[in-house]
């Protein structure tokens, strides 16, 4: 017989909801009341095993037993079997190989706790990092972050400690912490998962940053395509403030930090840090020329830390467990763990947090199980719409900032989009240019005009019109965009274009072995 205090965990993550988690939760509640059973439904984040969503978990022998993917129709049978066994039973969730083989630091709590419960968060090690930060000097916090080797997870990989030190050393009456949660790259969703599944972690990380550099105000800029993340973040801010982990005189330390959520309005470019700052100031999201660095003249002209969600969310671990603990994960100059995101045509799509150095092949096949269509992998786009297309022959590449860069690719925000052999790579190249033309802020000419010309040139190549001449023109155009654009939007759009041309010349109507100099 079921015990009275039975707890059932159902994700409130928007991806889980997109395949029916809300309906399943409602069905469980209805079934329980029909049977006169007392049970508590806890809405959590997602574990990041999306092919199993809606994934329902029940506290049982030796840990949480998983069932998935569950549909509304499966619910009565689960009750009939007292939530033991059955066709949808997955055993202990922690022992599912996809999860068991990960190294979850940032995502340690995601999918386990009630995301907006400060009590739950603290019971699972939350606020240990901030507690430590409140007991040491600003200098010591920044040194810990520097020593951990933590680099910006937004894509550029800039050392977080250096940025923090610059802001700490700047003299100003007001400093800001801005979290870039404008996760616009297709194939990425780790920021969203943290904001929906463990938002207090991000709040803790931002508070540590604020104390380290002497900032009293922070903003989280969340893209409007993430309504659930916006709502959950706001809820979590209220909860943290009510528990005095945010706001004024935090835990009696005399330190203040006030946090506000701001929504974007559908502009990919606002993920670029200076464009995001203009947008936060309420303006058009136009890219700014650097220098001045945002660290010295950022939001409203004041010294500002701009970090990605995952960067800030890594800092509580660094503070709680020490710089060495964090640094011991990873390879070369890429230290710590990276939440990789498997996307596109993938059988087991989801989030894999692993130390840097794992190969693309391991991620795509050992974790992802290959394509969902069952067809061979032909190309993989790593690092979002501005990242290179990697051919199937190069999947032995290790996911490491330097190794990827040395091979003409980039790790970016860790998104991996898998394409099978039906993909037309000339069409993907064209899309890269088209996307740039739609999303360019328009400030600099190579990006604004170059992208439109790029679409036209690729159309001519595809139509077989003066193919050799137009290929030369495309290569030249890409060089101008790379060298002459103000930011990564125009500067990196040539990456997917040229990598497609280089590795898949046949799709452009060229002989397969044409080598491209770029």
């Amino acid at each position: 017989m079921m015990s009275e205090e039975m707890k059932i965990f159902v994700p409130r993550d928007s991806a889980a909801k997109s395949v029916g988690a809300d309906e399943v939760a409602a069905a469980i509640e209805a079934e329980a009341s029909k049977r006169g059973l007392d049970l508590q439904i806890v809405r959590t984040g997602s574990r990041g095993m999306f092919w199993l969503e809606p994934l329902l978990e029940v506290e049982g022998r030796g840990g949480r037993q998983g069932f998935g993917p569950i549909s509304v129709e499966d619910v009565p049978a689960l009750f009939d079997a007292n939530f033991e066994g059955g066709g949808k039973a997955l055993g202990l969730v922690e022992e599912i190989p996809f999860l068991a083989r990960q190294e979850r630091l940032t995502f340690a709590r995601c999918g386990i706790i009630d995301p907006v419960s400060v009590e739950d968060y603290r019971a699972h090690g939350g606020y240990e990092g901030l507690t430590r930060a409140l007991g040491i000097s600003q200098e010591e916090i920044v040194t810990a972050v520097t020593d951990s080797g933590l680099r910006g997870r937004g894509g550029a990989g800039f050392p977080a400690g250096i940025k923090w030190r610059t802001v700490m050393d700047a003299k100003a009456d007001q400093k800001y912490i801005c979290c870039n949660a404008d996760e616009g790259d297709s194939g990425t969703y780790a920021d969203r998962m943290i904001m929906e599944g463990d938002p207090l972690l991000l709040i803790e990380g931002m508070t540590i940053a604020a104390i380290a550099v002497g900032a009293t105000k922070g903003f989280i800029y969340i893209r409007s395509e993430y309504p659930d993340a916006i709502a959950t973040m706001k809820e979590a801010i209220q909860a943290a403030t009510a528990a005095n982990w945010l706001g004024y005189d935090i835990q009696g330390s005399g330190k203040d930090f006030v946090l506000e959520v701001r929504s974007g309005a559908g502009a990919y470019i606002c993920g670029e840090e200076t464009s995001m700052l203009d947008s936060l100031e309420g303006k058009r999201g136009m890219v700014r020329a650097k220098p001045p660095l945002p660290a010295l003249q950022g939001l409203f002209g004041k010294p500002t830390i701009v970090n990605n969600v995952l960067t800030l969310a890594a800092t509580p671990t660094v503070l709680a467990k020490g710089a060495d603990f964090y640094k011991n994960y990873g390879v070369g100059r890429s230290r710590g763990t990276q939440p990789f995101q498997l996307a596109g045509n993938i059988k087991h799509g989801g989030l894999v947090e692993k130390a840097f150095g794992i190969t693309l092949k391991e991620l795509i096949f050992d974790f992802g199980g290959g394509t969902r269509s069952g067809r061979p992998v032909r190309a993989v786009q790593v690092g979002g719409p501005l990242g290179a297309y990697v051919p199937d022959s190069q999947l032995d590449l290790a996911a490491d900032y330097e190794i990827m860069a040395a091979n003409g690719a980039m790790l970016g925000h860790g998104g991996i989009v898998v394409f099978d052999d039906t993909v037309d790579m000339a069409a993907q190249a064209r899309f890269a240019m088209e996307f740039c033309s739609v999303e360019s802020c328009g400030k600099c000419t190579p990006c604004r005009i170059g992208s439109t010309r790029g679409v036209e040139v690729i159309d001519r190549i595809k139509a077989g019109q003066d193919r050799e001449k137009n290929i030369a023109l495309l290569e030249d155009l890409c060089r101008v965009m790379t060298d002459g654009s103000l930011c990564a939007m125009g500067g990196l759009t040539p990456m997917p274009v040229m990598s497609a041309l280089k590795h898949f010349p046949g799709d452009f109507g060229l002989p397969e072995k044409k080598s491209v100099t770029h």
Partner: protein
């Protein structure tokens, strides 16, 4: 139908509510969109005056962001993701069927004002591509049948 007096009263209220924010222009335009479903033309001069900006500056912000609209949307809004992850999972075929059935291109509203179709680049649901959002509800592994079914329509048979 709202009288114009009511519209400007409601606009004044939204503008007043957001005036205390840092960098208020964009958040106010978003709040106006939440209140009206779009940004009515009279909002531009009112907001410019309240924030001591030129009309051109407010218009500049309004025209920059894809999700700020100057015309009312349809009663249903169907947003299809067309970014790389969803492309890899067949979103183009879904989009083609939806467009054909509704008889509109992305960015347009059906003549009866019933449905607006939009292209979005990424909902962050890339492990369950293709993604769509229908009337604010996210849908994973979207098919044309499910997208259209969510607004009470069925796929138009092939000609």
């Amino acid at each position: 139908m709202q009288s114009s007096e009511t519209v400007s009263e409601r606009l004044s209220q939204v503008i007043e509510d957001n005036k205390g924010l840092d960098g208020p222009c964009l958040p106010t335009l978003i709040a106006i969109t939440q209140e009206f479903g779009y940004v009515p033309p009279e909002a531009v001069p009112m907001l410019a005056k309240a924030l001591n900006l030129s009309r051109a500056e407010v218009h500049g912000v309004l025209s920059f962001y894809h999700e700020l609209h100057t015309r009312p949307q349809g009663r249903h809004v169907v947003r299809l993701c067309r970014a790389e992850s969803c492309q890899a999972a067949g979103c183009e075929a879904v989009a083609a069927e939806v467009e054909k059935t509704l008889g509109v291109k992305p960015g347009d509203t059906t003549a009866d004002g019933e449905v607006t179709l939009e292209t979005v680049y990424c909902f962050g649901n890339c492990a369950l591509s293709p993604a769509a959002m229908v009337d604010g509800r996210l849908m994973g592994r979207a098919t044309a049948e499910r997208v259209l079914g969510a607004i009470g329509k069925s796929v138009k048979a092939a000609e």
